[in-house]
């Protein structure tokens, strides 16, 4: 328990100490690989932004090597056809549970650029001694997605 607290503190500290631009760079490389590990469909990767995070979304889109990457705003996501998404990357915090569940229903992989938004994501970035994927196993499991066991070995498992 104490360990967890310390880690959280360190996380918070580190997270607060990190630069989001740098994180986006790491994520732009990591997230596509995670996506490839789990699915090989031709569906889109969607980067979702709000009025404040557009620039992060654009940057991310620029950095991700995938061709089929679209940007949609927060407002559009509820009305979009989630069936065509293989993964979404949120660029903001405070995500709605409902949205998350819906995405999970459609077996869409949920990412967030903010490492501490793991509770509402399947994957974020874990920044510690090493930088590795942060995996919300329960959410993945809830979405009934087959996770590549490799991710379980290399990533950090979020346990709530």
């Amino acid at each position: 328990m104490i360990k967890k607290l310390l880690i959280t503190f360190l996380l918070f500290y580190i997270l607060n100490a990190y630069n989001i631009d740098d994180i986006i760079k790491y994520e732009s490389q990591l997230y596509p690989k995670i996506i490839d590990l789990i699915t090989s469909s031709n569906k889109k990767i969607v980067i979702i932004y709000n009025q404040d995070t557009l620039k992060y979304a654009e940057k991310l889109k620029k950095l991700i090597y995938y061709k089929n990457v679209v940007l949609i705003s927060e407002n559009q996501i509820n009305n979009s056809n989630m069936q065509n998404y293989k993964a979404v990357i949120f660029t903001f915090k405070n995500l709605q549970k409902k949205l998350i569940n819906k995405l999970a229903e459609h077996k869409v992989l949920i990412f967030n650029i903010y490492p501490d938004e793991i509770t509402n994501s399947m994957f974020t970035l874990y920044i510690g001694v090493k930088i590795k994927p942060y995996i919300n196993v329960s959410l993945i499991k809830k979405a009934n997605i087959n996770i590549n066991p490799i991710l379980l070995t290399i990533g950090e498992i979020y346990e709530n």
Binding site: N148, P149, L152, T153
Partner: protein, 776 residues
């Protein structure tokens, strides 16, 4: 080939060991492989499990069943896992099903998530792979072994076959007759055999060469051995060996052959048996001494052969040391002949009766003495002594006493002469003394007088008193000659001179020498005359038939037409010829001459009916080949045999009556007419006359010339009558006048010969004379 020592056997063993090793190795390997493979499998599985542990643990922790299944399926497929059971507190995951418990392996591992055990994973997997792998491996191994067997079998068979080739080759080598073959005839495809063959060929050549040399050597050895044996045989040498320590004795085989001994002489004591009793002790003693001192000795001894013949031997006996062993070696030389030779030598130079020198001995010593005399400027005198009438003494007292007399006489002479003088007996009753350092005749006189005074006393031989008398002739060295034979001859002549003059001794003087010189000269001249054709000629004295008063024959008489002295009658040269052997040559010369003349006369009108009489000397008559010679002449010259007559003197005819009768018979068989010449001077008995095969009696001219003497007339008458009785012709020789002729006519002789009618004349004169006489 199949003995333990054979290469093939060893190869077989090697193959067997190899195969067994391989088999065992493979067997062990299979077992090891099984375990190793099994272990590998397990380790691999463990490794995978370990690597997957984290993933699996995470999946199990968060219950990603499909992912779990996926991994388990993946693992199952990979490792032939029959069943996987993951057991946690909350859940158990099972994958697969065990179909067959056979060959199932079990593995259990803890499952840990973040270093916390969350469960266990049990794996049931099949080692089918291992077994499958092993089966493959075993199959390959078996195939490999079979192939190996096959290959080794083929290899073995090949080796066996090739080794058999060696065997065959060896058998050929075995049969090689190194005496004939220098090279093996064997073709082989293999270098090894070829190499061996070449080596053997080289060896064979060397052996053959060596063998040839050995053969030559053996031939030489045998040749030398045979020569040695022959040499031993010829020189009658025996070698023998006596090993006295081991009592072994060996002698050459030739000893047995020489003495005709069958028994093998393998024992020293057997050999001793052949040593003469007289020498046995000495022989044994010598052997003993040689053994003790181990030295060398020579001895002379006799050996008795089984047939009791004595042989003289000279033996050299030596002790030799061989390997700390002493052996006696003996070489015995048969000197029996040498002994005889020495005896012969003694006899050659000595007179066996008197023990003095014989002629050769004297001559030999004379040579030495002359050398000394020359050096010391001394003279030698050779005294030739002849015992007078010694033959009579022998006949009177016997030969034994005669020998005794000679011995005593020689002893007497030995006593008289000095030590420096030599004495010898050169004939039965003839002695020679060689006196050293004789100055003149005075010394001779002293010695002779001494001898003569001694022999005045009789020699007492077995109670018989025998008186002897001697004649002696003396010659001097170097005055009268330097040669022994010459001096001897001169001394002998001096003896004859002494006899003639009735003296006891005569020293050679100049007169005698001159006479000798003359004789020599005449003889040489006669020899020359014989070589020439017309120097020695015949003269013919006619013989007249009293009744018919015709010349019916002639007596051929030799004349010498001497180149310096003119015509010489026989009186001048025949006596000299008779003293030498020339008389024989003269006889033959005359015979051939007569044959030649008679052949010529055959064609002569006047001479063809004339019978020629030829005188024959005693020497010629008694010559062994006389008849042969006459036969040869008769074959060479075709004469009328009835015109040829041989005259032999009566004294000759009675010399050896039987021989004379035999020769005369042979002459008669040849068809030759025989006349007994000088009849009445010999001592022929009537019986002898009766036996003699003759045709004509020639009455000696002494009776005819002195026929006036009544006794002579009676003799002539008697002889004539005897001749008539025997139906022989009579010739009266020596009719010198008419008175004698008349008497002869009255007596009734058939033929006459003498100066009354004619002296001997030449052929030419004869022809004229006959012509005139017969036609008067």
């Amino acid at each position: 080939m199949k003995t333990k020592k054979s290469i093939l056997y060893k190869i077989q063993i090697a193959f067997f060991i190899l195969l067994t090793s391989i088999f065992l190795y493979l067997g062990t390997e299979i077992f090891n492989l099984y375990n190793t493979y099994n272990t590998l499998q397990k380790d691999k599985l463990l490794s995978v499990l370990k690597s997957k542990n984290k993933t699996l643990a995470a999946l199990v922790k968060f219950d990603f069943k499909s992912d779990i299944d996926k991994i388990l399926k993946e693992m199952s497929n990979q490792f032939n896992i029959q069943r996987i059971i993951i057991t946690t507190k909350k859940k158990t995951y099972v994958y697969g099903n065990i179909e067959n418990l056979k060959n199932i392996e079990y593995l259990k591992l803890p499952l840990s998530y973040k270093n916390q055990k969350i469960g266990d994973i049990e794996i049931f997997y099949s080692n089918k792979n291992t077994i499958s792998f092993l089966k493959t491996y075993i199959l390959k191994a078996i195939i490999f072994i079979i192939l190996l067997f096959l290959i080794m079998g083929i290899l073995w068979f090949n080796i066996y076959k090739n080794l058999l080739l060696f065997n065959k080759f060896a058998k050929i080598v075995e049969k090689i007759n190194f005496k004939k073959i220098q090279e093996i005839e064997f073709n082989s495809p293999f270098n090894e055999i070829e190499i061996i063959k070449k080596s053997i060929d080289k060896l064979l050549k060397q052996i053959y060469s060596y063998y040839k040399k050995q053969q030559e050597l053996l031939i030489k050895i045998n040749k030398y051995k045979n020569r040695l044996q022959l040499a031993q045989k010829l020189s009658e040498v025996f070698s023998w060996e006596y090993d006295f320590e081991n009592e072994k004795f060996e002698i050459v085989d030739y000893f047995n052959k020489f003495f005709g001994i069958n028994e093998k002489i393998d024992n020293y004591y057997k050999f001793l048996d052949f040593i003469h009793e007289e020498d046995k002790q000495m022989f044994k003693k010598t052997i003993q001494e040689v053994i003790e001192k181990c030295n060398e000795k020579t001895i002379n001894h006799k050996i008795i052969s089984p047939d009791n013949k004595i042989f003289y031997f000279h033996s050299t006996i030596k002790c030799i040391s061989e390997k700390n062993k002493k052996i006696i070696i003996g070489v015995s030389i048969n000197v029996t002949d040498l002994k005889k030779q020495k005896e012969i030598e003694y006899l050659a130079y000595n007179d066996i009766l008197t023990g003095t020198n014989n002629r050769f001995g004297l001559k030999n010593k004379f040579e030495t003495l002359t050398q000394l005399a020359i050096r010391e400027n001394k003279k030698l005198a050779l005294m030739y002594i002849d015992i007078k009438d010694f033959k009579n003494i022998n006949e009177t007292y016997g030969y034994h006493k005669g020998d005794e007399l000679l011995i005593n006489f020689s002893k007497l002479l030995k006593q008289i002469i000095r030590k420096s003088d030599l004495l010898g007996r050169i004939n039965a009753d003839e002695f020679v003394i060689i006196l050293y350092d004789i100055k003149d005749s005075e010394n001779i006189n002293v010695i002779m007088n001494k001898i003569l005074s001694h022999i005045k006393n009789p020699f007492i031989i077995d109670e018989n008193k025998i008186y002897i008398n001697i004649y002696a002739g003396i010659s001097f060295f170097p005055d009268d000659g330097i040669n022994f034979e010459d001096l001897l001859r001169l001394a002998n002549i001096a003896v004859e001179y002494a006899k003639e003059k009735g003296k006891h001794f005569k020293v050679i003087d100049e007169k005698i020498k001159e006479k000798i010189e003359y004789t020599t000269k005449i003889i040489n001249e006669i020899k020359d005359a014989l070589k020439k054709e017309n120097e020695l000629i015949l003269f013919y004295q006619p013989k007249v038939n009293i009744k018919s008063d015709k010349i019916i024959g002639v007596e051929a008489l030799i004349r010498w037409n001497h180149p310096k002295k003119g015509l010489l009658t026989p009186y001048h040269f025949i006596p000299y010829a008779e003293k030498s052997s020339l008389i024989l040559e003269i006889d033959r010369y005359i015979l051939e001459y007569c044959m030649n003349i008679l052949t010529k006369w055959k064609e002569d009108e006047i001479l063809k009916d004339i019978t020629m009489s030829v005188n024959l000397s005693t020497e010629e008559f008694e010559k062994e080949d006389f008849i042969e010679y006459l036969e040869h002449l008769l074959k060479t010259y075709s004469i009328n045999l009835d015109k040829f007559e041989l005259e032999i003197v009566e004294s000759l005819s009675i010399h050896d009556m039987n021989n004379t009768i035999s020769i005369l018979k042979n002459l008669k068989n040849l068809g030759i007419s025989i006349a007994i010449d000088d009849f009445g001077t010999g001592y022929s008995s009537l019986n002898y006359i009766n036996k003699l095969p003759f045709d004509v009696l020639k009455i000696d001219q002494t009776f005819i010339r002195n026929i006036k003497d009544k006794s002579n007339e009676l003799i002539v008458n008697m002889i004539t009558k005897i001749a008539k009785v025997l139906n022989k012709k009579v010739v009266a020789e020596g009719v010198e006048n008419k008175e004698i002729l008349e008497t002869i006519k009255k007596i009734g002789c058939d033929y006459v010969q003498g100066y009354y009618y004619a002296k001997p004349m030449s052929e030419k004169e004869l022809k004229e004379f006959i012509k005139r006489f017969n036609n008067k």
